[in-house]
């Protein structure tokens, strides 16, 4: 027989009348018990008021997102025995960022609104719709599209993203993955408009890989954002952010192309302009750091290798 053991489940509960409070439950579990089953047991056997979302219990529907021991996870994809600590305890809380509605149920409207902003649907060519032309797709193109389409709208990445919290103009990781999925789809006819929707927002991502880390589907939204940024040179439009990003990035590319390294003082000047750079210099002087800003590193000696690598533009 499979060995059972008693675990303690601490849930941060919430309702409008009582506000937030913690409640503990004891549950029998074995090595096969998913956290969604733990919740179902509590609800049907101990506390019917316990509220949470759950549907497929196989990590394809994205309902049961929550914080398990502080970590953003799907409850169904978390086995009770791996979740518990040495005291056989596990803590469950509603996801960060979203407004709480009830116990482990947050209001996810803000997540959905971000998704809708990227017009998440294919606009096929009329001749394909009518059947005059058949649209083909290479296996590698399908792979790329599917990678980012595998998102299950669970909202974990947005709840964990530091930029989303600070910057309402940032569409967030999931919406970027979704947007890029259509950019990468040769069957779509709105690629330019899509780049227009995504480009400014892409430069609001910090590339911190938090979304990559918490995604239960391995969608890697940050990679979609990076791939979107790569279109910055062919995108005709601009915004304040994009202008700065272009200056900054082209200076880096230039610097690497010339010396094989980044020369920060030059980068500073070119990106932020003379006035802002001087202001920052003042701060650095006060910190006693200015001597480093002036330091000069040697260039790469074998620049031929670097030039060959940098050489042919994409």
């Amino acid at each position: 027989m499979v060995e059972e053991k008693e675990i303690t489940v601490n849930v941060k509960k919430y309702d409008k009348e009582k506000g937030e409070y913690w409640k503990s439950y004891k549950v029998q579990a074995d090595r096969y018990t998913q956290m969604t089953e733990v919740l179902r047991k509590i609800k049907t056997e101990q506390d019917p008021t316990l509220s949470y979302r759950a549907s497929c219990h196989m990590a394809v529907c994205g309902s049961c997102s929550m914080k398990i021991n502080g970590e953003p996870r799907l409850a169904c994809k978390t086995m009770a025995f791996t979740a518990i600590n040495e005291k056989n305890e596990v803590n469950l809380e509603s996801m960060d960022y979203y407004q709480e509605v009830r116990d482990l149920i947050p209001d996810m409207d803000t997540f959905y609104d971000r998704m809708y902003k990227v017009e998440p649907r294919l606009y096929a060519d009329q001749t394909v719709i009518s059947g005059e032309n058949d649209e083909r797709m290479t296996p590698s193109e399908q792979k790329e599209v599917w990678k980012f389409e595998e998102c299950i709208w669970c909202g974990l990445c947005v709840s964990a993203c530091p930029s989303v919290k600070e910057d309402e103009k940032f569409l967030g990781p999931a919406a970027h993955a979704k947007g890029y999925r259509f950019m990468a789809d040769g069957r779509d006819t709105k690629k330019e408009e899509r780049i227009g929707i995504l480009m400014d927002s892409a430069w609001r991502c910090t590339s911190c890989y938090m979304c990559y880390e918490v995604c239960p589907q391995d969608v890697q939204p940050v990679i979609a954002i990076k791939k979107t940024k790569a279109y910055v040179d062919e995108f005709p439009g601009t915004t304040e952010l994009i202008t700065m990003a272009r200056k900054h990035d082209s200076t880096i590319a230039e610097s690497i192309g010339e010396s094989g390294k980044i020369k920060e003082s030059k980068l500073y000047l070119k990106t932020f302009g003379y006035v802002a750079a001087m202001k920052d210099m003042m701060y650095m002087m006060k910190e006693g750091k200015i001597k480093y800003a002036m330091a000069k590193d040697t260039d790469v000696k074998n620049m031929d290798e670097i030039k060959k690598i940098m050489g042919d533009k994409k």
Binding site: A54, A124, V128, T138, V145
Partner: protein, 564 residues
Amino acid sequence: MEKKEYDAVVLGGGLAGLMAANNVADAGFKVAVVSKVFPTRSHSAAAEGGIAAYVDGNSDPNDDPEFMSYDEVKGGDYLVDQNAAELLSRDSGEIVHILDTWGAPFNRQPDGRIALRYFGGQTYPRTRFVADKTGMALLHTLFQHATGFDNIDFYNEYYVLDIVKDGNNVNGLVAMEMKTMDPIFLKSRALLIASGGLGMIYQHTTNSYINTGDGYGIALRSGVPLKDPEFVQFHPTGLYPSDILISEAARAEGGILKNNKGERFMAKYAPHKFDLAPRDIVSRSMTIEMREGRGFEGGYLGLDLTHLGREYILERLTLAYDAAKTFANVDATKEMIPVRPAQHYFMGGIDVDITGVNSDLNGLFAAGEAACVSVHGANRLGSNSLLETLVYGKETGKTMVDFLKKHKNVESSDGVDTIVDNAYSYIKRETGEHFGTLLNELRDVMWENVGIFRDEKKLTEAVKQINSIRKRSINMYVTDKTTNYNTEVFNALETRNMIDCSIVMATAALNRTETRGAHFRDDYPTRDDDNWMKHSIAYLNGDAVEIKYKPVIVTKWKPEPRVY
């Protein structure tokens, strides 16, 4: 109470509901899609293996839609309405084309055409797929497409209470916003029930927690019958012990079922099709193996993929691999996956004809697993559930458009308050039985007595016990009195629906004294075409289940013995 008026209300945001909604909206009508979950959480997402289709120019050169229909008819043990099976095959290619133009990311062949593979019961390979998350990929495709319509309003996380009728006409439905617990009257002359299945009635099921037969429940309470409710599919490969589905794709791609002696036992039961025989046959064979002591301790058999090679498994069977790894701690590239049969699909459903129309209530339509057309008869073939949701979602959408053009919304709002009062009665009550107790008992009875092997004794006992549970359920009460997202209220209402479905299913199973497809009677082990080649049409009148019959529509294929 808030009231909103629409041309059509669609209950359910899964594939069938969304397909119909897309069609009705495309014709310019105003549609409300009501779902107790955000649409991408619907159970359609859990369909793994693929969608069967005959695509002109991209099918086996020897294949033909006729063969496909024949496979369905035979697979369904001749309880299939053959005109429905023919429509399903005929329109399958068009569905794939539509999905392609809506952005479905089907796996591709090297030349860029959509890839295909074999599934159980198929004479030629017909299954189109997106890795092994086909349902999820298609659900997202349809939902995303639907969000492009201004004339579709989504009522996500709204729980349906009951159908509003005006005489014998549909007048919409009453639902409750789960977040605020406010009821809303969604008024319309057409109602499509596309709310999926009822797996949670069974102790072991591959279904989502949300599959609680809500659509069947509200239909039965409105005097609408279920067709063939005795037919329940048990999938051979539920992962042990969590019952998570291991897709038929695993066997389609070469996986082999083995008993504790390492024998490929399906050779004995299906000498031609082996592990890819229809699901009812494989599930029964597995149960026999385990009964006769050739299962593993704990009650499971092995699904062996190891000979397929790591790379192939990781690429084509990602979900099966991940599920085994995550939920059973088994590395499918190195060891057998522990599996056992679990409830998977309800062949029965709201009685509709080939156009999606129910003849008991004007303006009522049904599609997908909620409906019984019937294309699956006594046993559904793999890859046909996705296909059915889309072909019949579309077909029903067309019928609804015709209906909407001919009819106007009625004026009345009668009966709305009673519906709300009934639902509130559970909250108002201060004592009684708790939904969890009743539900756990119900799930046991259904699994033990209305499961894979049935007989008169078991079924009589089931009817008795379910009736008793049903009586007790009148005194069901809800401890949670709060007014925001009170899930206990909804669980109680779901339990009411599940109990109503169960009594109808058990009674119809007791009534059908033959073995056909998934309905296997130990006491009547053979098919009886003389007496039983007919559909059960089961009504729930108060406490009584009343069963009538409809003939099976035969166009081309006379019944033959079903050998695989």
